[in-house]
């Protein structure tokens, strides 16, 4: 008989096995965030040419581990937790096959540790992308494969739970929007992992000598089916979390379920095609393929992101105005709970993702402009705006909500928690903006020595490029401090926070259930369908402040796009 617990503060229902899996995945994810953060500090301080901390071989080793531990292990462990929340908790349903859930967890654990061992043994500094013909140790690839199989199993436990919920009628009507967003993430994950299997299994066989040759271009195309799509899992997951937080903090309802779901549908159809923007400068594939996949398809996916970026703050604005905060354009935003890290983290995530990540992404996804920034430090700058201030900060924000609810501990150091999103978001934004600037001047990514000491073909970067890398790295250090503050608050709360439930202890943080008396086998009530939204005034847009923000985004985009075309024309004179 499935056992459930009701959270006395929020009324959320937790299935016992799901609860344990959510905790275990989230905690292990945080451990990888810690490792990745330490490595980030080393990498950043090496790219700050005045400090130039690590020697070359250690730099490439640290950079490989930083990319993989952060982007793959931290994010995907956390996403497993998100999938279980979005299915079991939000649908008030028992988790399908908890046993397979633990297989997911075990495989991902073994895989992630194995790949880390391979990297730190030193022979696998092939970067996160592990492009052939560079070869890593066999257990580098094997670890990634095991990890991916685990993640795939997690996706199927999620889909299985949807089936159980439908069969057992635990909800009325359609699944909630947040669950729908998680479905989008899981669908993209299946394609992602399939691409990974198609390319990493042969690469593993090549590393042990069974296959003699892997075509470099073939590798790049299939690998980016994994590499890009996995970022879109993150987008779908963090957008779902934005909606969730808007609901939790403001009681906000999506402005239009129809529009938001249609936007997720655009993700399902088109987001993964944009993988081709990584291949824009590659010979061997036609312009038709590049243009179809990155223009027509990608813009539809970008449109979907703009819809989410409009409807999430829009729904907050509507909820705030309903509470009487109607003065002017922005009272609803000024009087938002800026000292609640659940909200501030989410809002900074939304703004940096849209304004920095979104605009730079579209600009460099343009085939012509891509030529001037390809493989420069501009690229990591762009994706730190998407996966760090976007995804990671959203995950941090929801964690603040989950600590008391899920782990039954009160948060320690509330003052630090209050400033943490600003520290992390602010520091990382400095890193991002200055690396964007340096990238525009041609500073390479994944490059140990900007000075080209002793190189046969050197290059002199302008002094300002050095300054920009230095200021950026300084911002990176602040960002690392912000990340450390997050871990201090969250891990500290799990260890020392006041117990909201007497049986909450250290072991419970790793998934051991709370005292048996917390659970009962009565089934949760059916999740009711929300009553339809009532519209007071349909003649005008209900969220004018959000509309102004959207126009601001559009104007920034157009101006920036134009600047980049001018710049292209100046570095590449045709007359």
């Amino acid at each position: 008989m499935a056992q459930f617990r009701t959270c006395p503060d929020t009324g959320l229902y937790f299935h016992k096995s799901a609860e344990s899996l959510i905790k275990a995945n989230a905690v292990v994810g945080a451990v990888f965030l810690l490792v990745a953060g330490i490595l980030a500090l080393l990498v950043t301080l090496t790219r700050w040419q005045a400090i130039h901390l690590l020697p070359a071989d250690q730099f490439y080793m640290a950079l490989t581990a930083h990319g993989i531990d952060a982007l793959i292990f931290w994010i995907i462990f956390f996403e497993m937790a998100v999938l279980y929340v979005a299915s079991s908790v939000l649908l008030r349903c028992r988790l399908a096959t908890p046993y397979w859930g633990w297989v997911q967890f075990a495989l991902m654990m073994v895989g992630s540790v194995m790949t880390n061992v391979a990297i730190f043994q030193g022979g696998s500094s092939v970067m996160m992308t592990s492009y052939v013909p560079m070869q890593a140790a066999p257990h580098f690839y094997l670890g990634l494969i095991l990890f991916a199989v685990g993640a795939l199993i997690g996706c199927f436990v999620f889909f299985g739970t949807l089936v159980v919920a439908k069969d057992e009628k635990t909800y009325e009507g359609s699944v909630p929007l947040v669950t729908f967003g998680a479905i989008t993430a899981a669908i993209i994950a299946v394609f992602t992992i399939a691409s990974g299997a198609i390319i990493l299994v042969p690469t593993f066989l090549w590393s042990i000598g069974y296959i003699s040759h892997i075509d470099a271009e073939m590798y790049r195309i299939i690998w980016w089916g994994l590499g890009h799509s996995s970022q879109q899992i993150n987008v779908a997951a963090h957008v779902s979390i934005w909606y969730l937080i808007a609901g939790l903090v403001f009681g906000a309802r999506p402005m239009s379920e129809k529009v938001s779901r249609a936007a997720f549908l655009l993700y399902i159809f088109f987001l993964q095609l944009a993988s081709a923007h990584h291949i824009l400068v590659d010979p061997g594939v036609s312009s038709e393929w590049k243009v179809f996949n990155t223009s027509y398809a990608m813009y539809l996916a970008v449109l979907a992101s703009m819809i989410h970026g409009l409807t999430v703050p829009g729904s907050i604005e509507v909820a705030q105005r309903a509470k009487g905060l109607t003065n002017g354009m922005f009272e609803w935003l000024r009087k938002a709970p800026w000292d609640n890290p659940v909200f501030s983290g989410m809002f900074i995530s939304l703004i940096t993702f849209g304004f920095i990540g979104g605009i730079t992404g579209v600009v460099m996804g343009t085939e012509q402009i891509n030529l001037i920034i390809h493989n420069t430090i501009y690229v990591p700058a762009h994706f730190h705006a998407t996966v760090v201030t976007g995804t990671t900060l959203a995950f941090m924000a929801i964690t603040y909500f989950l600590i008391p609810v899920l782990f039954r501990r009160q948060m320690i150091l509330p003052g630090l928690a209050k400033i943490q999103p600003y520290l992390f978001g602010g520091g990382m934004s400095i890193l991002i903006l200055f690396m964007l600037g340096a990238g525009t001047m041609g500073v390479s990514r994944r490059h140990w020595d900007m000075d080209f000491t002793g190189a046969a073909l050197g290059f002199d970067y302008p002094g300002i490029a050095y300054t920009m890398m230095g200021i950026g790295a300084f911002g990176g250090v602040i960002g690392v401090l912000g990340g450390a503050a997050f871990l201090l608050v969250t891990v500290g709360s799990l260890l020392f926070g006041k117990k909201l439930e007497p049986s909450a202890g250290l072991l419970q943080s790793f998934g051991v259930p709370l005292a048996a008396s917390c659970y009962s086998s009565t089934k949760p009530e059916i999740l009711p369908m929300a009553p339809p939204l009532e519209h007071h005034d349909t003649t005008s847009f209900e969220a004018p402040g959000t509309f102004v923000l959207a126009l601001l985004l559009l104007v920034s985009f157009v101006v920036y796009y134009f600047i980049n075309w001018k710049y292209l024309a100046s570095v590449w004179p045709l007359s």
Binding site: F180, I187, E217, R261, S286, N293
Partner: protein, 55 residues
């Protein structure tokens, strides 16, 4: 909600096509995997395998 669930079908609200698509995660899964497999992977791989070998 009221007790419409046990009544014959014509009493139920007709579900629009779009909604039945959105309510079917496995159909969405199929589309979401098929689209990029065809347009990105298969098309891309075909272009690479048809590059003529240097003489």
């Amino acid at each position: 909600m009221n007790e419409t669930t046990n009544q014959p079908d014509e009493k139920k609200e007709r579900i629009p096509a779009m909604q039945s698509l959105l309510d079917n995660p496995f159909l969405l899964l199929f589309i979401g995997v098929a689209m990029p497999t065809v347009f990105y992977l298969m098309w891309g791989i075909m272009e690479i395998v048809t590059i003529p070998v240097a003489p």
